[in-house]
């Protein structure tokens, strides 16, 4: 006997709404077929739930009660001044901006039309052109049976297609800004596809922010596919800091690193009620380096999950992960880090660390490191800690006249600072710390 699983309200409405808006989504026949296949896939998979091993701490089926209407065709009026307000601490960064509002590219708000060494196109435009390139972009190149990625393929409205020329040294960071604005609760799916040529160097920042006063409820599904060419140097930062009470942030990074390349990734997640950040990294050439870190800040009933899979498929690569979470009230943080070392991946050097700081007795941090090592000549290690604020250090600070609330912020900043500083670039570090300080000040 087979048991028919009851579809939830959210699952049903995702399927229904796809049928009503499919004609408004960009792309010709090829793209449209890919969307339909993804929608069918989603209908078959449903939202991931706790009985699926990778999702055991984050029951999306249970947590995502409804599917908000797609934001396709959004034309919310916004000014550059609005974008600056929404960007907060990132507004000070001297960067080339590509701005999207509720998932639609907005040229008049952007400032990246002419960046030396880089070609930037709107995904919607490329999808609409059709042809092989469009169908290629419709493929997320990630895991096949991921429902969140399938939703992204079915529903993506826009995003950036970035191509960094070989050996280009891109001067200013590229800031891909996704603003949530307006009074209509919506579901926004965006995709960025980034190709970095050999020996090029570039800094790319994705920001997910909202305009103050925007409707509290929102769902964002974002996927970024990035391939890092041989000996290229990339800094890739995501700053998901919506700041509203009822926002779901689902993200996927699909990273491919070629020989000798140096890829640094960082993710900040704060001010979202429910987040699942998946990162899939594959090494495709020897002597490459991955340095991945992240900070997640949660309070109230926030639930923030970071799940990553690093696949050492070739020898002699180095991977580092450092993730730190600060959790208050009833917030829950999840970190799952799987490191696979394939039989041929000798001389792999991998280290992983995740640390939770619990500010309340009801906060929770679940950490699940997983090493799957099939090669023998490797150095791999992982660790996970979970602690409360150090009372002795609090006393030490207070005995020097520092009030308890200030001491607490000082110690929390120092805790997350170690991960943020991995970004390396001082201005970006300062902007990220600016977001974190803003979050801490709301306590």
């Amino acid at each position: 006997m087979s048991i028919a699983v009851m579809k939830t309200k959210a699952e049903l409405s995702f399927a229904e709404s796809f049928d009503t808006i499919r004609d408004q989504l960009p792309g010709g026949a090829g793209v449209s077929a890919a969307r339909q296949a993804a929608a069918d896939k989603f209908a078959q998979l449903g939202l991931p739930h706790r009985r699926i091993e990778e999702w055991k701490y984050t029951d999306l089926r249970n947590a995502m009660k409804e599917a908000l209407p797609s934001s396709v065709g959004d034309e919310t009026a916004l000014t550059i001044a609005d974008v600056i307000v929404a960007l907060g601490p990132l507004a000070h960064l001297d960067a080339s901006r590509v701005v999207f509002v509720n998932g639609a590219y907005r040229e008049e708000l952007s400032s990246a039309s002419d960046v030396a060494g880089v070609e930037i196109e709107s995904l919607a435009a490329v999808l609409s052109e059709g042809g092989e390139r469009a169908t290629g972009l419709a493929n997320p190149a990630g895991p096949d049976n991921d429902a969140v990625l399938a939703l992204n393929t079915a529903y993506m409205t826009d995003g950036s297609v970035v191509s960094v020329k070989e050996a280009a040294a891109v001067e200013k960071p590229l800031l891909l800004v996704h603003v949530r604005a307006g009074m209509e609760p919506g579901f926004t799916a965006v995709r960025n596809v980034i190709e970095v040529g050999g020996k090029a160097s570039v800094q790319i920042i994705e920001a997910f922010v909202s305009l103050p006063g925007a409707v509290e409820a929102g769902q964002v599904n974002t996927a970024t596919r990035i391939s890092v060419g041989e000996e290229a140097k990339v800094l890739h930062v995501s700053c998901a800091a919506d700041g509203q009470a009822n926002v779901t942030h689902l993200s996927n990074w699909i990273v491919n690193i070629a020989a000798g390349a140096d890829y640094g990734g960082f993710q900040l997640t704060q001010g979202v009620a429910l987040a699942r950040n998946q990162i899939f990294v594959a090494f495709s050439g020897e002597g490459a380096k991955l340095d991945l870190s992240g900070v997640f800040l949660g309070r109230n009933n926030d639930h923030i999950d970071t799940t990553l899979v690093v696949d050492h498929a070739v020898p002699s690569c180095e991977s580092r992960e450092l993730f730190k979470g600060v959790l208050d009230d009833n917030a829950r943080g999840v970190f799952q880090g799987k490191i696979i070392v394939q039989p041929i991946a000798q001389k792999t050097d991998g280290k992983q660390m995740s640390q939770g700081l619990l500010l309340s007795p009801n906060a929770e941090f679940d950490s699940k490191p997983e090493l799957e090592i099939f090669a023998d000549d490797v150095v791999c290690g992982h660790g996970a800690t979970c602690a409360q604020l150090d009372e002795d250090l609090m006393f030490y600070c207070q005995s020097r006249g520092i009030p308890a609330d200030v001491a607490k912020v000082l110690l929390i900043e120092s805790f997350i600072g170690e991960a943020v500083e991995n970004i390396g670039d001082e201005d970006i570090v300062e902007a990220i710390m600016g977001f974190a300080r803003g979050w801490l000040a709301q306590a």
Partner: protein
């Protein structure tokens, strides 16, 4: 003036009494030394003055400038002039020394109704005080006390004291782990702060420190009580006899 009256202290979570009726008065302008065997409760007395909440006062009172400080948080006590130089200064990974010092100095200045120092004013002050204590300002860019030697940590405590301008200075075994040169530098730093407005309580196991910081009075703490009080010559006597009669072999 500091007045400690019939002070009884136990460990907060246990029923273990440590201080069993301490009476001690230190007028402003005076330096008193407390000596005693290991485990006699010297650090406990220091912590209880600074307001650490691992301990519980079961009886008695601590009066500073005419007011009981028992109900005050550690930072309020610091604002009222209390400073403890820790026997084991703590390391704070991730917080740069200069950030820590500036945060503390300006927090105290606010509480004392003084204007905050600007960054250049602060740096000028730090440079001059650090120079007097042979501390390289570069060291203060590193996280607080992280990777410091024992002696560097003790000097960094005295630097904090000099910057925070307390009026009740409690030094807990500031001499331990110092070689003779460092001991001289630290003592000069402490002596520079001696003034008619300040009371000091210098805790030590050895008489050596008291050659440099000459006390007005010496008290012997053992078994949770002040067993004897006298002038500076009491320290010399203890140096000869050791703490045997107080329950510990001569050092």
């Amino acid at each position: 003036m500091l007045e400690i009256k019939n002070l009884h202290v136990k460990i907060a979570e246990e029923n273990k009494p440590i201080l069993k009726g301490i009476d001690l008065t230190i007028p402003k302008g005076e330096v008193h030394a407390i000596m005693g065997p290991n485990g006699s409760g010297k650090s406990t007395l220091a912590y209880i003055l600074a307001g650490r909440d691992d301990y519980e006062v079961t009886e008695g009172d601590i009066i500073w400038n005419g007011e009981s400080i028992l109900e005050m948080d550690p930072d309020e006590r610091a604002a009222s002039g209390v400073f403890l130089a820790f026997q084991y200064p703590m390391e704070i990974p991730g917080v740069a020394g200069l950030t820590f010092l500036r945060t503390a100095v300006n927090a105290l200045r606010r509480k004392r109704d003084q204007d905050e120092l600007t960054t250049p004013e602060f740096m000028k002050l730090v440079k001059s005080k650090a120079g007097e204590l042979n501390i390289d300002v570069e060291m203060l860019k590193r996280p607080v006390n992280v990777g410091f030697s024992g002696g560097e940590k003790k000097r960094s405590e005295i630097l904090q004291m000099a910057l925070l301008e307390p009026t009740l200075c409690v030094l807990d075994e500031t001499d331990s782990g110092l070689d003779i040169d460092a001991l001289r530098v630290v003592s000069e730093g402490v002596n520079a702060l001696r003034s008619p407005d300040r009371a000091m309580l210098v805790i030590t196991h050895y008489q050596r420190l008291l050659n440099h910081i000459v006390p007005d009075k010496v008290h012997v703490l053992a078994h949770g009580r002040i067993q004897r009080s006298g002038g500076k010559e009491l320290a010399l006597e203890l140096e000869k006899s050791g703490y045997a009669e107080y329950g510990e072999e001569a050092a």
